[in-house]
């Protein structure tokens, strides 16, 4: 039985349809990256999975529990790391963990707190208030807080949004550790590198639906081919290169100050200019091609 099964899930907010007929299965023991631009419906999907949003249509089953009726049972077996820091800033690090150990009905609160402190590498800061912690420490604490009860499933909602690269890497190591322990992870993100680095499988979400899904290398091979040629030049020259490539039947996408000619290995003579830098196709190419949004 999959850890998560969503069938035809629809969630509307007034005129806006945030989730639009979503079908999603997450097998146990994998890390699935839910990749999509802002407004794709990722956070709403996360809230539906915790019972903090109720679907207008469709069926949801998490760890064998039917939602929303058994949402509380499902939450008892899952951990959540929210997008926004909602720690109690005036409370000590250890008390933040202890409160959640109690909320998750952990029997040995002290042992769970010690374990959480060790995982978040905050043992020597246990009596400090959260206010005194750096951004990275607070993120590690948030992750440890969601793991107090050793859940079977973790929902990570944009776990590294707004963090600097060094802190992001620290968080990734922790997520890697969870993966190695067999915890099922559903991680929403709009960072391509995060999905590519951590996820066993990636589901690309746009306008409330999954528009592509597979292992990162499969998605790349299917949608972007083997190689991408990037061209950096003044706008007039870029327009010229784009027109030529498109005339040769190639797909061109914007790439910040450059353009990227996707699937350049299929190019015939003259389609790729000599100044182009050829690199291996990436998940970013897939993401931009499928969603039409610039990647972060």
């Amino acid at each position: 039985m999959p850890a998560i099964e969503l069938k035809g899930v629809v969630k509307r907010f007034g005129e806006i349809t945030a989730v639009d007929g979503l079908d999603l299965d997450v097998p146990r023991g994998i890390c699935l990256g839910l990749l999509g631009p802002n407004g794709a419906g990722k956070s709403t999907t996360m809230r539906l999975l915790t019972g903090q949003a109720i679907a207008d249509q469709g069926s949801l089953r998490v760890l064998g529990h039917e939602l929303p009726a058994e949402a509380k049972e499902a939450r008892a077996e899952m951990g959540v790391v929210p997008q926004l820091d909602n720690l109690d800033v005036d409370v000590s690090v250890q008390d933040n963990l202890a409160v959640f150990a109690r909320l998750y009905r952990v029997k040995d609160v002290r042992a769970a707190v010690d374990k959480g402190l060790e995982l978040s590498r905050l043992t020597d800061r246990r009596t400090d208030s959260v206010e005194q912690l750096s951004g990275g420490m607070r993120r590690r604490l948030l992750l440890a807080r969601g793991l107090m009860h050793e859940p079977d499933l973790m929902l990570l909602d944009e776990p590294t949004v707004g963090l600097d690269p060094q802190i992001r890497t620290q968080l990734w190591s922790l997520v890697d550790l969870l993966r190695s322990q067999g915890v099922t992870i559903l991680m929403s993100t709009h960072y391509i590198e995060e999905a590519q680095r951590l996820a066993d499988e990636v589901a690309v979400m746009a306008a409330g639906k999954i528009i592509a899904r597979g292992k990162p290398h499969e998605l790349i091979a299917k949608h972007a081919g083997r190689e991408t040629a990037e061209v950096y030049a003044p706008p007039e020259r870029l327009a010229e290169v784009r027109a030529t490539a498109e005339a040769h039947g190639l797909t061109v996408r914007p790439a910040g100050p450059a353009i990227a000619i996707v699937g350049s290995e299929r190019a015939t003579d003259g389609a790729i200019p000599p100044e182009a830098i050829v690199r291996a196709a990436s998940l970013e190419d897939v993401f931009v091609l499928l969603t039409g949004e610039e990647a972060e």
């Binding site: 915790t50 409370v91 109690r102 909320l103 009905r105």
Partner: protein
């Protein structure tokens, strides 16, 4: 999992206790000092110059016992209103709690109970201070924390329901001006309500704060048979507002 699990409720309350450790000094300071200031200003000021006795009591005793209700409403309705709004909107604490196996009913119940316990405790301070000003101790006073607790549950629920209903924090001004201040003024704390016009006297009977004032005075100077009705009224007030707070907060927190 069943409804209203004690583990969920105590878990949420443990969060409040952990937070309380960081601000108990300031709260306790104001809870002690406020009745002292009121007693000095009204009790000794008015009592020694304009008013001698009210309903057969020294004015200091009259105000001191009435101040319990003031302490209760200001330590329940206002913290519940502002606290719930801040936790829901700015700190996103409720999002964090509801991601754990806790439902809105348990969350609201725990918040009410915590505020009720706190108010039951702080509600006694005016009595203790009044004793320093000459109020004689009485066995009935031992029930005052219970009366304060039950009343505070209702006002905490009122505060939570209000927090779940307003769009912006500034809108609390309307509630304090139009609801809390009138309730506080026509509770019979500073003057007997029989001096009010007849219509207001009838309305005051529906003011939970007035019922608390009467119960506290009776606890200090002798109970009456009708006090059981007053207590029942306060319980009904707490239960009705509890359900309303759960309903409104569910609407606010669950999309």
């Amino acid at each position: 999992m069943r409804r209203l699990e004690p583990a969920a409720i105590t878990g949420v309350m443990s969060r409040e206790v952990a937070n309380f450790r960081s601000y108990w000094k300031s709260t306790t300071f104001s809870s002690v000092l406020e009745p002292v200031i009121y007693l000095l200003a009204f009790g000794l000021g008015l009592g020694s110059t304009i008013v001698d006795k009210v309903e057969g009591l020294d004015y200091v005793e009259f105000v001191g016992t009435g101040m319990v209700a003031t302490a209760v409403i200001f330590s329940s309705a206002l913290p519940a209103m502002f606290g719930a709004f801040v936790k829901e909107r700015f700190q996103r604490t409720y999002d964090a709690i509801l991601a754990a196996p806790v439902d809105v009913e348990e969350l609201v119940t725990a918040e009410m109970l915590w505020i009720g316990i706190r108010s039951g405790f702080y509600g006694c301070f005016p009595l203790i201070v009044s004793m320093l000003f000459g109020l004689d101790p009485a066995p009935g006073m031992l029930l005052v924390p219970l009366f304060a607790f039950i009343t505070a549950l209702g006002f905490a629920a009122f505060g939570i329901a209000t927090a779940a209903s307003v769009a912006k924090i500034d809108q609390f001004s309307y509630v304090t001006t139009l609801v809390i201040t009138p309730l506080f003024l026509v509770a019979g704390t500073f003057f007997p309500i029989d001096q009010l016009p007849e219509g207001l006297q009838v309305l005051a009977q529906f003011n939970p704060l007035h019922q608390l004032v009467v119960l506290v005075r009776h606890a200090c100077f002798g109970f009456e048979a009708t006090d059981l009705l007053r207590l029942a009224g306060l319980m009904v007030f707490a239960v009705v507002l509890w359900r309303e707070a759960v309903r409104r907060m569910s609407k606010r927190l669950i999309d």
